[in-house]
Symmetry: T
Subunit: 69 residues, 12 copies
């Protein structure tokens, strides 16, 4: 059977500067070990606050990649 099977995972990246950078951090980390990443869908955005100011922007991403248990 030649049809591809994909697995979906949720990752959360963070950055002190922006949600784009937070997402980039998560994608680049995942790209070190997962094959064939194509789309990352944002599931949720939030902000960790310290001393009444934003400390970390966090991006929760859904990623799919070729399945190999």
């Amino acid at each position: 059977m030649s049809e591809s099977i994909y697995k979906i995972i949720d990752l959360v990246g963070s950055s002190p500067n922006s949600w784009e950078e937070a997402a980039t951090n998560a994608i680049e980390r995942a790209g070190q070990s997962l094959r064939d990443l194509r789309i990352a869908e944002v599931q949720k955005l939030d902000i960790k606050i310290e001393d009444g100011k934003p400390a970390q922007f966090r991006t929760n991403l859904r990623l799919s990649f070729k399945y190999q248990d």
Copy 2:
């Protein structure tokens, strides 16, 4: 009947740099032909990945404008 009728459309803009720039691209393109744009609501954010890195940030926007079939 003088009440205004609005139509709603969904557009997706993209940018290699940020979701704000992706949204701006879509709004400026829509603004060339649609009248009376006032609010754009984000429906979804995602990222197109190439070679394990973010290639395009994409912003899905809902826009309303004066209806003229």
Copy 3:
């Protein structure tokens, strides 16, 4: 009874530049009077349009803080 009770509020910040700056404005304003802010969850992002261009990026945030009616 020593367990803490938290209250949740929704705020909307705005910025001509980015959703991160809009969120930061709302958090810093809230931090002037609310104690123990820790996480701000994004509920909604939108854009106010003027003359066919983005005028304000707006971030709707959910914040929790120690309850004191």
Copy 4:
């Protein structure tokens, strides 16, 4: 191929008096140019406020009609 294809659009009607009248305004306007309207589903109701009082009741409707690009 004889099966019908339908297209779905979202319209927003408004009225100073009621959400039913707002919906009626949108449906009658759409009916001038769209064929075979049968059901309008309410997606959202809201109210535009002026001087602390309701100025316009607005009804966001989803309508389907025979598709002809």
Copy 5:
């Protein structure tokens, strides 16, 4: 065991005039045979269109009543 058990049902009422009247029709019909109705929650509003005009306003209600299979 003296605690009451409630059952929930969904009904759809209709009226040529308003969603309130549509809801009233459904509640009064249900009230003929069901005991202890207290709250009706609106699940959905729609409109049946005939000849390009609203023909029936329809209200989908969720009702709870004392359970007796």
Copy 6:
């Protein structure tokens, strides 16, 4: 920093006659003390039933206004 911050609150108004009147009651009450109300979004509609008939139509509204803790 001149950007405005808005706070969002949920109110429930009621009326024996209609959901529009219920919403109007809540908005007029809020307008006595809150500044710069512009849009009220309907979150939920329900009906309080007494003696098998509608007694109160209730409208749950989300309102935003200028924030001043």
Copy 7:
């Protein structure tokens, strides 16, 4: 009062072959005793697995019919 009242029920049909056949089984069974069925909306699809293979495709349907308690 001549307006019709409809009741909504949820049924689950199953089939070893397809979700369409599962839905058909549920509709034909309901049609033996319920009057005036017109639309069945899919609420959920799932699959019962046995020995690592699909054993039953199941379709959860929402059906409305004329109300007679």
Copy 8:
């Protein structure tokens, strides 16, 4: 046709002590007349308050059972 058809109903049980006990009350009551109950999914939890204290914990459950109109 030998495939089973299931019907889904929503019940609400209550208890002064816990949501588990509230659910148990509803399931045991339903089990007196319904065949082949297997899973109860929680749809909603709430609390009835009297004199500023919890009076009843209530569990809204979705149950499926063999259909026999």
Copy 9:
């Protein structure tokens, strides 16, 4: 500005045989006039019933294509 803008539309196809065939009908019809269709997301499945049997399987699809007002 070279970034592509996409527009999203919702279509409903129907077939007496299957939801796949219903979707295929809608996609092939849209493909006659829209450029660069790549993904169709299912929004909703339903069935039109006649004489107590399924008459039409209907598939509501969300499609994106290159925007040219």
Copy 10:
């Protein structure tokens, strides 16, 4: 105008033992200053973990009470 207006707030209570106790803590605290609390709807349940074990069960509740800005 004699119709009552209600305001809705979200509180989060916590307890090392159970979600019921967490909810009770929040309700009793709110009851010290808010009038006419009647229903608390659960919005979300979560658990704070310390050293790999549950440290606090937390219940997020929606409460309505008579509005007096």
Copy 11:
């Protein structure tokens, strides 16, 4: 402690012919390495389009199996 713990994963299968076959491909692949699969819930259906025609039907499934990190 003898209670079983289950882990949930999301897989996407594809097929040129049907969503049922796409789901079967994903389940059979997962069944090679995961124990005790019992239910697969459909999370999403979509279609990959090539040359204006459906090329792959894709089924996104949620599967649970016995947990062994």
Copy 12:
């Protein structure tokens, strides 16, 4: 790059006694191999029924932990 990346997984624990105990079982099992668990969010509660009575309370939890593929 020093920013932490988190992975999210969904587990289901069960207990004959309570949803809290079911959650505790899942968390303690996960804590044996996953680092830095801090929050578990409830996704779903259900009950396995045997002989018309609750046999297992089950809690579906979402957990995040430091990512190391």
